[in-house]
Symmetry: C2
Subunit: 96 residues, 2 copies
DNA sequence: ACTATATTTCGACAATTCCAGAAATATAGT
DNA sequence: ACTATATTTCTGGAATTGTCGAAATATAGT
């Protein structure tokens, strides 16, 4: 992972709503979580939620799959793991 | 660390210049790195650099100490560690 | 085809961020 | 006090982001 990619991922995670979305998706595991379910939990307008989801997707932090008329979002956990590894490799003092 | 604090730190790290600054500061270790030295390496206007440094400081990601007429920036590594721990605790699938 | 549900796109506006030149401030040496 | 160096603050404009209502699109059931 290069620094531009890492910065992009950090930037998109760097918003309370998006971080909260991402956190929920990770907890939801593989099946993911429907956009509607997220909206219900977060209680924000669907258009706003949709934008934030698109932001996270633009940083490859989540993917979406459709099942009938509901869209499920899944955390792209590998990308997140790579980010953490990047941070630990590049921004890590000796002590760790 | 609460989610607002974490998002703030992620946001400030989520910029290529700032991430690069932070990375250098961590590598510089305890004595830190002079603003002038950072400017020399990054080759950006001092005002721009100063803003980015202030951003990082506003998220408690660095601190500054003066030695004569040079200001040294030090990475606030503990805060960063807490951020990583937060991410691993809140956004972590079973596998890790 | 019609209707209902789920989600995204459009359009608009306010707020924030980014960048950099110029000026100001702080400190040290003479 | 004067000069030089280091860094920050001020100012302002361009670009981006955040938010949300309204409209559009996608899918499925009848």
């Amino acid at each position: 992972m290069d620094i531009e990619i890492a910065a992009k991922a950090l930037k998109e995670l760097g918003h309370p709503i998006r971080l909260s979305i991402y956190k929920r998706l990770v907890k939801a595991g593989q099946p993911g979580m429907a956009v509607g379910k997220l909206q219900e939990e977060l209680k924000i307008p669907n258009s706003t939620l949709s934008h934030h989801i698109a932001s996270l997707a633009s940083a490859q932090l989540l993917s979406q799959t459709r099942d009938g008329r509901t869209l499920y979002c899944q955390a792209e956990y590998e990308h997140f793991e790579a980010l953490i590894e990047f941070l630990q490799a590049e921004c890590c003092a000796d002590e760790m």
